[in-house]
């Protein structure tokens, strides 16, 4: 066998240099059999013939060297066909980039199958989005770190679908300059992120600690390979949107441990520590003791937390005498009584900590013990590098919330450590159609202008008083309610959205069925009917014997008992309902529409008299009232078309709308009359800045309706804890929904419960 490399001819012809090819050659020889070696040589020739060029060839040779060594000969041989594919569709530069990307990609592609999945995805991208191959390959490392091979493929396919036939749009998506790329990204990872578990996790935190901080999930930047830590700052908590490198089955557990830990801080950590004169190492140690302290306190009441937290502590006593290792070992020693560690420093820390058991309620001991241990480490000349230090284990927060931020040591949160806030789509006006909204004709912007021009189509239908709490009285005829006709639109989308709530529909169907069945079907003691009411007949006979005049009401009939109830559903469609609901691309108004459609369906199945209307306002002279369905109109396609045609805009002068609603429902001759208000936030309008004014006026309106025996019930989000719902509707007559997205699940069932 010759000592020459198989690409000696290329070297000689000057096409490629001879970069470290001695070692590459050795690697190839070790892994390939003669047959495979020949194949490889043939591939090389083909690549050369295709015009890949010297740099490309060299990169190929290097890539296959690495591949052969790390993932075996078959993987190495799989590369060339893909390069040829990419070259054919996307050109030479992209083809060369593929070889370049191989080595970094391999770090995240654990086996040959993953590698092939990745190649397939790249080939697919080349065929359908050639312009995007190079930017994607350039980010291979980060993308694969975040997504894995499987997720990468899903992401590529998702991007191709979303980008459609438009190369520019595809490019924007794949080079991550379009914020939607992150959405796709989240979908593609396929594993659970914070938002999937958010509701349950928040409830968990409330159950354990009665803490309800604002929690924000922060997406990482693709390419950032470090595992992020949570962070809190008083009542503001940030958690990583995804737990990278955590098995799907454990993700919830990590989040749970994380929030339980932060909950322990919120309850047991005192005022923030002053950094004054502390070295970074001491800061880290004080934080570490503080972590252990709050956990111990929490475990006194909630012993089960031990089982949640302890398994994350995996430091070992043979872990080496470096600062990170010692810190992790000390952390473990402070929580896990079964952990044995004979290191003197760890033992000392442990003894000091547990000797102070009685003083644990005092955060001062964290400072005290942390400082002492820090001094010891200094004397042991153990180096501490604040740049690379991260709090262990994974579930613990970065502890920045423990320290006074004004002079917090920048060392402790090294730049990568700070959670980078990336684009989260919460309120994005310029984000045009996609997903569900896309098929609604007339986007909101167009509609708003259209409506402006139709403004004088409104018909004034009433003037109502308004209450000024500062004056303590009402100003009569202060607001004008103007009725506008909603523009009907096609209902296909709305119908589809409603159908997607199959489980709610099913439950409603059952409830409606039950409500009908459980209503006594027999109407007793009637003056007429198809048979005798036995009880009434006996009673009449008795009366006769007792010498009393018998009642003629001795018949009974079977009839669906009239629930004798009218309800007006009043929807808030102010500007804010155009916002996208957090974590989705659906607007609040869309959820209101779906919820109303579901409820309306149930109502018409039940046979309850109902009407639907919407409102918004533009100053006191233009409180807009949109009748969607009247009490004597059927809930049919036309009604749905009007519902689907509601568009958000303007302000929320709820009082005026309520008074008008009262007039509308007040005309109903039923025993009970109910106005069910769906709001999305505190009332407001352009002509008065004082928010309280509208809340108080609305409260007054509710009270005046109550005087006319009309019940008003509100449902909405809690308005960042302002309690405005309770203020307006009264303590018992409102329901807070924690997520607008759950309105379609909640509203119809709420109604069923209200009237059960």
């Amino acid at each position: 066998m010759t000592n020459q490399t198989p690409f000696a001819d290329l070297v000689e012809s000057g096409l490629v240099g001879d970069p470290r090819n001695g070692s590459i050659w050795r690697a190839l020889r070790q892994v390939f059999n003669a047959h495979q070696l020949a194949d490889w040589r043939a591939d090389l020739a083909r690549l050369q013939a295709s015009g890949l060029g010297p740099a490309g060839l060299e990169a190929y040779i290097r890539a296959t060297g690495t591949l052969a060594e790390k993932r075996g000969p078959l993987a190495a041989l799989a590369l060339a066909p893909c390069i040829l594919d990419v070259e054919r569709h996307a050109g030479r530069a992209a083809a060369a980039a593929l070889s370049e990307a191989t080595a970094p990609a391999l770090r995240h592609l654990g086996n040959e199958r993953d590698f092939r999945d990745w190649l397939d995805a790249v080939a697919e991208l080349a065929a359908q989005g050639p312009e995007s191959v190079a930017p994607v390959l350039a980010r291979s490392d980060g993308l694969l770190a975040e997504l894995g091979a499987h997720g990468f493929r899903a992401w590529v396919l998702g991007g191709l679908r979303a980008g459609g036939g438009d190369p520019e749009r595809r490019l924007a998506l794949f080079s991550l300059s379009d914020p939607r790329a992150f959405d796709l990204f989240e979908q593609a990872t396929g594993d659970i992120g914070f938002t999937d578990a958010e509701r349950a996790l928040k409830a968990y935190l409330i159950a354990l600690f009665r803490q309800k901080p604002f929690i924000r999930a922060v997406a990482g930047t693709p390419g950032d390979t470090l595992q992020r830590r949570a962070s809190f700052e008083r009542q503001f908590v940030q958690v990583p949107a995804r737990m990278r490198g955590v098995a799907t089955s454990s993700v919830r557990k990590v989040y749970r441990a994380m929030l339980a830990h932060i909950g322990a801080h919120l309850v047991h950590s005192g005022p923030r520590f002053q950094v004054r004169g502390l070295k970074p190492m001491q800061v880290a140690l004080v934080s570490l003791i503080e972590d252990a302290r709050v956990e111990q306190l929490a475990m006194r009441e909630l012993p089960g937390l031990f089982r949640l937290w302890a398994p994350f502590h995996t430091a070992r006593a043979d872990g080496g005498v470096t600062a990170p290792s010692l810190f992790a070992r000390l952390s473990r020693a402070l929580i896990d009584p079964n952990y044995r560690d004979d290191d003197l420093w760890v033992t000392k820390g442990r003894q000091m900590f547990f000797a102070d058991r009685e003083a644990w309620v005092d955060p001062g001991i964290s400072r005290q013990i942390g400082n002492l241990l820090g001094n010891d480490l200094g004397q042991m000349r153990i180096q501490f590098n604040p740049r690379t230090y991260r709090v262990e284990p994974l579930y613990r927060d970065d502890n920045s919330g423990l320290w006074d931020t004004d002079d917090a040591p920048p060392q402790i949160s090294d730049e990568q450590d700070v959670i980078v806030e990336t684009v989260r789509i919460e309120r994005t006006q310029d984000l045009d159609d996609h997903d569900l909204e896309s098929s609604i004709p007339d986007d909101d912007v167009g509609q708003a202008t259209a409506r402006e021009s139709r403004a004088d189509d409104g018909v004034p239908v009433g003037k109502y008083a308004e209450y000024d709490y500062l004056l303590g009285r009402e100003r009569s005829e202060w607001t004008t309610v103007v009725e506008y006709q909603p523009q009907p639109v096609d209902t296909t989308l709305l119908d589809r959205q409603v159908q997607s709530y199959g489980d709610v529909l099913n439950r409603l169907e059952n409830l409606v069925g039950a409500a009908r069945v459980s209503r006594p079907a027999r109407l007793r003691a009637r003056t007429e009917g198809d048979r005798l009411d036995l009880d009434a007949t006996i009673e009449a006979a008795i009366d006769r014997r007792a010498g009393l005049a018998p009642s003629p009401r001795v018949y009974e009939t079977t009839e669906r008992r009239n629930r004798d109830l009218s309800v007006l559903v009043l929807l808030d469609i102010s500007e804010s309902t155009k916002d996208f609901v957090k974590g989705s691309s659906t607007t609040i108004l869309t959820f209101e529409r779906i919820a109303t459609a579901l409820l309306s369906q149930a109502l018409s199945d039940l046979g309850d008299a109902f009407a639907v209307a919407a409102f918004c306002s533009n100053g006191r002279d233009d409180v807009r009232f949109y009748p969607v369905k009247g009490f004597n109109q059927p809930y049919d396609r036309d009604a749905r078309a009007r519902l689907a045609g509601l568009r958000g805009g303007l302000s929320t002068r709820i009082g005026g709308a309520l008074r008008h609603a009262g007039v509308v429902v007040g005309a109903q001759r039923t025993h009970r009359r109910l106005v069910l208000v769906v709001t999305d936030g505190e009332p407001s309008d352009i002509d008065v800045a004082d928010r309280r004014y509208f809340v108080e006026d609305a409260r007054k309106a509710v009270q005046s309706l109550a005087h006319s025996a009309i019940d008003v019930f509100g449902i909405g989000p809690d308005g960042a804890g302002t309690g405005y719902l309770g203020r307006i509707f009264g303590r018992r007559n409102f329901v807070v929904i924690d997520q607008i997205a759950r309105l379609p699940n909640k509203l119809p069932l709420l109604y069923m419960r209200l009237t059960s």
Partner: protein
Amino acid sequence: MLRTLGGSQFRESPAFSGSGFGRGIFFPEPRELMTNLDDYRIREQPYYKAVGTEIALFEAAHQARMPMMLKGPTGCGKTRFIEFMAWRLKKPLVTVACHEDMTASDLVGRFLLDANGTVWHDGPLTNAVRYGAICYLDEIVEARQDTTVVIHPLTDDRRILPLEKKNELVRAHPDFHLVISYNPGYQSVLKDLKESTKQRFGAIDFHYPAADVETEIVAHEAGIPTSAARTLVEIGIRSRNLRGHGLDEGASTRMLIHAGRLVAKDVSLSAACDAALVLPITDDPDMREALKDAIAACI
């Protein structure tokens, strides 16, 4: 209607004095069914652990015969309390569980036919009024409003019960005391007490007892060691934190006792909580998850 009679036309029956069973002459004929309220006496002391000053308060209210309303969430001990008080005050206790199809006759009484003609049969309320019992109307909101109004004349100074059908006006026995229960957390606009009803009552507000007290109750009622009862109570507290945050109600004392009884039968604590608490309380998968995890943290 012909049958409507003015108050003056009512004949009065003599108030029955002295405690004990009833024996008296009543108008009109035919004779009343005689009722022996002895059956309604509580002979053995019911287990009741005071949560606050409710015993003294109720005793005072009883002395004044002030109609009382026991407010509080379900399963917090209202029923047990009234049983205990009846025992303590040595008064018979007539309990009526109200339901939506209940009519006024179900409370007051009605004529029935027998071989000789018609017989009036006192309802439970009338019995209590005549012979001097504590009458406990449980979950009064459930009853129809036209039913509820029959108690009105009993709850002001008149202390009378007109039996319209029978053309009789029953003056309440001095021992008669009306008590109702009312769960304000119950949200239904169709079911609420009329203002005019509510305002006739004094009220005692019941809450779930403090942790130590509740532990003792759970341990006693379920027959489990204090330590296990304590854990259950901690779990109860966590679940109550979720009230209004996804749950309509947290776990009641009654539920904790149920879980405890399972534990007493050697079911593991977490399985017992699952069966007696998590599953009955909510169908919402997120809330179930949160509850289960919170329970795990308590054990």
